[in-house]
């Protein structure tokens, strides 16, 4: 029964395609998969917006949207109708063609990221030999679309936001890729499917995910920080810091194009969370050996929702960074730690299994971390915060 439920969608696709004539079968197959991915992740976007607004509301001690539908859960529908019916304003001096193209290219690039993510067992659109490389290549295109949006608006806030976004994305792309290289090194493959397969199997009841190794854990933490910065989320949301530059690169977008930007941003977030799950959290594998009867795609989405919850939690907790803090953090902390992590993964690979390996690699991660953060925090005068209340 577990097997049938697990492969339900794969079999469904095969059955649908079987009836088609031989010439169009492969095209029909990929078309159906693409439509499924579009539908699932677009609706996940809708669910996430309401969850985020409600979650943030709770963190900030208020209710959040609760008027439309039961507990306010139909709010995304209302938002969608609103953004569709709003007037689409293009600034008078804007570069019309580029202004029009930017959100479209962004959403297109964001959707093509999902081509290499294994959502479940045998559920991947394209098992590319260089899957991880494809992911990074396409996500680097998204930086250019943000520039297109900011530049074509002819607005200083848009341009400032775009410059900030690009500087930030390029700076954090370096540690992000370096940390992914540790996993690629350990798995010996760039294909996302075989990276997931390499993490299959259990020791006792615990899975053999890369996050449960010293280098993998450090890598996962670095990956999550870099992913937050890549998807321009708080505390790294300077590109759209509303208290400084209105709304950053999409200040001049309204109506449906604004909604497309919103969609593209969240799709990027889901995709990079999905990559994190694939690289460190065993992809669609069950977290405990006796839970494997639950279909693999459910595990993938459970992990994805957990990551999204983490992102919402971080957004509700941490204040925004300053630009110099952001850059210093990327180049002085993230980059050296990613390089150390790379070395640690190599050492882990060549040491024999046992307690020694854990001790050496743990020390290799922890000691540089402590020393580096001590050194970076040298000039800081940290005092106990004093609260003053109104008399």
């Amino acid at each position: 029964m577990g097997e049938a439920a697990d492969q339900f969608f794969v079999n469904l696709l095969h059955r649908l395609v079987d009836h088609a004539p031989a010439g169009v079968a492969p095209i029909l197959s990929s078309l159906l998969s693409v439509v499924a991915i579009l539908a699932v992740f677009a609706s996940l976007f809708a669910v996430t917006t309401i969850l985020e607004r409600k979650g943030l509301g709770r963190i900030q001690n208020r209710y959040g949207p609760n008027r439309v539908g039961p507990f306010g859960f139909l709010q995304p529908v209302a938002d969608g109708i609103k953004s569709l019916t709003k007037e689409d304003i293009v600034p008078h001096s804007a570069d019309r063609v580029v202004h029009y193209l930017a959100p479209l290219v962004l959403v297109f690039a964001a959707f093509s990221l999902y081509a290499v993510l294994p959502i479940g067992r045998n559920m991947v659109l394209a098992d590319l030999d260089a899957g991880v490389l494809f992911f990074f290549a396409v996500s680097s295109v998204m930086g250019l679309t943000i520039f297109m949006a900011g530049w074509s608006s002819r607005n200083k806030y848009s341009l400032l936001g775009a410059m900030r976004a690009i500087a930030q994305m390029i700076s954090y792309e370096v540690p992000l890729i370096l940390v992914s290289v540790t996993v690629i090194m350990a798995a010996g493959s760039l294909s996302t499917v075989s990276i997931v397969e390499k993490q299959a199997g259990y020791i006792g009841v615990l899975p053999r995910w890369y996050v449960f190794t010293p280098w993998g854990f450090a890598g996962f933490v670095l990956f999550m920080i870099a992913a937050t910065a890549e998807s321009n989320r708080s505390p790294f949301d300077l590109p759209e810091g509303e208290s400084e530059i209105v709304a950053g690169y999409y200040t001049e977008y309204s109506g449906f194009k604004f909604a497309l930007f919103f969609l593209g941003e969240y799709l990027g977030l889901f995709a990079i969370s999905g990559l994190g799950i694939t690289l460190f959290l065993g992809g669609w594998a069950a977290p405990l050996s006796f839970l494997t009867w639950i279909p693999s795609y459910l595990w993938f989405f459970a992990k994805l929702l957990a990551m999204i919850a983490l992102f919402i939690w971080v957004r509700g907790t941490l204040p925004r960074l300053r630009m110099d803090q952001l850059m210093n953090f990327a180049w002085k902390f993230m980059l050296p730690m990613a390089l150390i992590d790379l070395v640690t993964a190599g050492v882990w690979h060549f040491l024999p299994q046992g307690a020694l390996r854990w001790f050496v690699c743990g020390a290799l991660v922890v000691v540089p971390y402590v020393l580096l953060s001590r050194w970076l925090m040298q000039g800081w005068k940290l005092e106990k915060r004093v609260y003053r209340f109104a008399e």
């Binding site: 570069d95 580029v98 590319l128 030999d129 260089a130 490389l133 494809f134 990074f136 290549a137 396409v138 680097s140 295109v141 930086g143 250019l144 520039f147 297109m148 530049w151 341009l159 410059m163 690009i166 390029i170 792309e173 010996g188 493959s189 760039l190 294909s191």
Partner: protein, 176 residues
């Protein structure tokens, strides 16, 4: 037409080739510099698609990552940092002699190249690959036979990074 290229691949190749050439022509002829960089990314992406079509997956994706993701953004930053290069004329005034001279050079180069390509015997006997190359093989070759060049490229990139930062920062330090 050779047998190893099916009609679909020829069609795709034609589309990507037209895309690449159009992008390149636009990049070299548009007045607005940012537009020409955007056209350049189209040309680079078309070329990456041609690489993918030819079975060089790694190179195609590296092309997108490096050229579209890094070089194009670098150029865009340079354009925004140099104020006078917002919109530039196609040909600066009075340099028709230059235009004529370069036209002759360009057409001569292209003519010679095209003539040589069409008349050489290289194109006639083509060996087609029995297998597609995997990333695994590329990695093996890179770490064994090409280990030294790889190290040198790494050193070169480091030097270039430090050099570029020093050159671009120098002035600011001096003025302060």
């Amino acid at each position: 037409m050779p047998k190893d290229l099916s009609e679909r691949i020829i069609l795709l190749f034609t589309i990507f080739a037209i895309l690449t050439v159009t992008g390149a022509v636009a990049a070299m002829s548009l007045r607005n510099l940012v537009h020409s960089v955007l056209a350049l990314t189209v040309a680079f992406s078309g070329l990456a698609a041609v690489y993918l079509l030819l079975g060089a997956q790694f190179v195609g994706l590296a092309q997108i990552l490096v050229y579209v993701g890094a070089v194009a953004i670098l150029v865009v930053f340079a354009i925004l940092l140099t104020r006078d290069s917002g919109t530039v004329p196609l040909i600066s005034g009075g340099s028709w002699r230059l235009l004529r001279g370069s036209g002759i050079v360009v057409f001569a180069v292209f003519g010679v190249l095209a003539w040589a390509i069409c008349h050489s015997s290289v194109g006639r006997h083509t060996v087609h690959l029995s297998h597609d190359t995997s990333i695994y093989e590329i990695g093996n070759v890179m770490m064994q036979r090409f280990a030294l060049p790889l190290e040198i490229v790494g050193a070169l990139l480091t030097v270039a990074l430090i050099g570029a930062v020093t050159i671009a920062m120098q002035e600011k330090e001096g003025r302060r």
